[in-house]
């Protein structure tokens, strides 16, 4: 192996058991994401892509199989260790932004650093830099989410994902609540961060037009990967959408 993969899963499975019913959400998935890669996951609702994303994001644990993050097996670590991993190496971006209401953009961006134990001065400096990197102008830094547009709110959320200098950004339908133009701007931002800084991105999306910004598209169906191709070779409709 020339370069160690950032994310590597081997026969990763997640089974939900409710009484007598067993639902196999993720079914023995082998997946690899190299450092610096920008990968999209597509698939219909219930295909297991969100559950897979949660496991990769260390919000959930696999029922069986192995998950190596940066070469370390993290499939069996406890809740506190997962929290520590999320804090140090992962950044999340959600469809609904999930910003704290009545809290300024800068304070929202500072949030992850509170748990990382940084000084208030360093928190402030890094939050300002991340907001500027995410394309939010300085005059908006003190505004609460209610005074910002959807695109601006998502920029704050992206800045929040960047402040702890993560290894991997996990984006769950990041443009789902945005119009086409703003979606394009946000995707350009992701692409730029990926190209300029080599930031690894794993994104779940419904829309092929959004997935086009990534380098590789992985299609899920019934808990399994049914298609895994470089973007330029992706044919819409090749997997069930």
């Amino acid at each position: 192996m020339t370069e160690q993969a950032l994310v590597r899963t081997i026969a990763l499975s997640k089974v939900f058991a409710a009484g007598e019913h067993r639902l196999v959400a993720v079914d023995r998935v082998d997946f690899t994401l190299a450092r610096g890669e920008f990968v999209s996951i597509m698939g219909p609702s219930g295909s297991g892509k969100s559950t897979f994303m949660h496991i990769i994001g260390c919000l959930d644990r696999p029922t069986s199989g192995t998950y190596l993050f940066d070469g370390v097996d993290v499939s069996t670590i406890d809740a506190d260790a997962r929290a520590a991993l999320r804090r140090a190496k992962l950044g999340f971006v959600f469809q609904a932004y999930n910003l704290l209401p009545r809290t300024s953009a800068i304070e929202n961006a500072e949030l992850p650093m509170i748990y990382a134990g940084l000084s208030s001065r360093e928190r402030r400096d890094r939050a300002v830099r991340a907001l500027l990197d995410a394309g939010l102008e300085e005059r908006h830094h003190l505004q609460p989410p209610s005074e910002l547009s959807g695109g601006q709110q998502q920029r704050v959320a992206i800045a929040r994902a960047l402040v702890n200098q993560p290894e991997l950004i996990l984006a769950d339908e990041p443009t789902g609540a945005l119009d086409t133009k703003t979606s394009g701007e946000i995707m350009t931002l992701f692409q730029g961060l990926n190209r300029a800084r080599g930031l690894s991105v794993l994104m779940v999306t419904h829309e092929a037009s959004v997935a086009r910004y990534s380098q590789r598209i992985v299609s899920f169906l019934d808990g399994r990967i049914v298609n895994d191709v470089p973007t330029e070779r992706y044919v819409a409709g090749s997997a069930v959408e």
């Binding site: 949660h54 994001g57 919000l59 959930d60 809740a79 506190d80 929290a83 520590a84 991993l85 999320r86 804090r87 140090a88 992962l90 999340f92 959600f94 999930n98 704290l100 009545r102 949030l111 992850p112 509170i114 748990y115 990382a116 134990g117 929040r160 702890n164």
Partner: protein, 408 residues
């Protein structure tokens, strides 16, 4: 996440929801204020009772006529004229009796050259200042000779002095009591109001012989007295002397030991212990009501914290997603409820101190902010916050981040 930061987050959350925070802590505010007012009123009442008891004289025994039955009609205590001067003299000669005085009283109008005033006239023996533990601010008290000669001399209370002699020195002047001229030879020191709000300084003391012979109407039995007051040389002899007096008066009044006596003996220690225990009971009652309201206040905090955790489920999920461990979430909510309760407690302390000042002004007792009870109330309210905040905080800390993030 350290404590200072958690505190800042908590204060931020409280300030963001000002109205709700205030309503949440209302129970605590009222509870703490009630505790502080109760404690200060109780302390004030006890201090003023103690003062009254000391004023009465510490080892004083009072004998008043008992109920008597005349042709089947029972008169109330003190209603019968059964005590005499002779009873008083006999008591004065008992061992361990330090001093004794009879009291014959009547109310009438008195007139000085400056004005007139209705007041109580007490006929007493020269031992009166000693038994009542009451000094003179000017002049002298009357003597045995004055009693023997039924001298027309009097000692007046401070209120009477100020009413009859607004700007003059009363000593040596003459006042008319029921048109009988009496020379003022002394003025008593000021005592103020008693527990029941009666002005203790509104009286005139004259030799009992002068009152009986010169002021009383002739249809009253000549040697009857209203009250016998005597003091005991040492508190330990109180019970013995009380028994001796009981036996003596029964013998003099020819009452069998088993029969109902026609007199009643009260000593100030009994009065004091009854008054003190009444005050204490009242204070315990009020304090328990106040404590209940503190607990109810705590439940109010728990209620709102549970609502707050439910409302902020997404926020909790997000905090977990960005790497907050469960204990940081637990601490955040615990610090928030403790801070809420402590802020409420502080508001309650301010209200309580203001309330105590008002109560002390109305009830005419001295109030001093009691630091231990203030600190106690603050500590107790933060403890209530932590206790009742724990269950909501634990609920927040054990949320599943995925579920929490999906909550609408």
């Amino acid at each position: 996440m350290n404590l200072a930061l958690a505190l800042r987050l908590a204060l931020g959350a409280i300030v963001r929801n000002k109205e709700r925070s205030l309503l949440t802590v209302l129970g605590i505010v009222i509870g703490v204020a009630a505790v502080i007012v109760t404690v200060s009123i109780g302390a004030g009442a006890r201090a003023s009772i103690d003062q009254q008891i000391a004023n009465l004289g510490s080892n004083v025994v009072i004998v008043i006529p008992g109920s008597s039955a005349t042709q089947g009609a029972h008169l109330g205590l003190g209603g019968a004229a059964t005590l005499t001067l002779g009873d008083g003299l006999a008591i004065a000669h008992l061992p361990h009796v330090a001093a004794a005085t009879p009291l014959v009283t009547l109310r009438t109008q008195v007139v000085s050259q400056y004005g007139n005033w209705q007041t109580q006239i007490q006929g007493a023996a020269p031992t009166w200042p000693f038994v009542r533990n009451w000094e003179l601010s000017a002049g002298t008290f009357f003597s045995d000779t004055d009693v023997a000669t039924s001298a027309k001399v009097c000692v007046i209370g401070a209120t009477v002095a100020s009413e009859l002699f607004p700007n003059a020195d009363p000593i040596g002047t003459t006042i008319a009591i029921r048109n009988v001229p009496f020379r003022v030879i002394g003025v008593l020191t000021t005592r103020g109001h008693n527990v029941f709000g009666m002005d203790q300084d509104d009286l005139i003391v004259v030799p009992y012989s002068a009152l009986m012979q010169r002021l009383q109407s002739s249809n009253v039995r000549a040697d009857a007295v209203n009250t016998l007051i005597f003091s005991v040389d040492d508190p330990t002899n109180m019970t013995g002397v009380t028994a001796d007096v009981d036996a003596l008066l029964r013998a003099r009044h020819r009452i069998a030991p088993s029969a109902l006596p026609d007199f009643s003996i009260r000593n100030t220690q009994d009065v004091a212990s009854v008054a003190t225990s009444t005050a204490l009971t009242l204070q315990i009652l009020l304090a328990s009501v106040a404590t209940v309201s503190l607990v109810v206040g705590g439940i109010g905090i728990m209620n709102i914290m549970l609502v707050s955790v439910t409302e902020r489920t997404r926020e909790i999920g997000l905090r977990m997603a960005v790497g907050a461990p469960g204990r940081a979430i637990l601490m955040q909510f615990l610090v928030e409820s403790a801070t809420l309760a402590t802020v409420g407690g502080a508001i309650g302390v301010v209200l309580g101190v203001v309330g105590s000042l008002v109560a002390s002004a109305i009830g005419k007792f001295a109030y001093q902010p009691d630091l231990p009870s203030i600190i106690g109330a603050l500590v107790f309210s933060s403890a209530v916050g932590i206790f009742f905040g724990y269950s909501p905080a634990r609920r927040a800390a054990t949320l599943d981040p995925i579920v929490a993030l999906r909550t609408e």
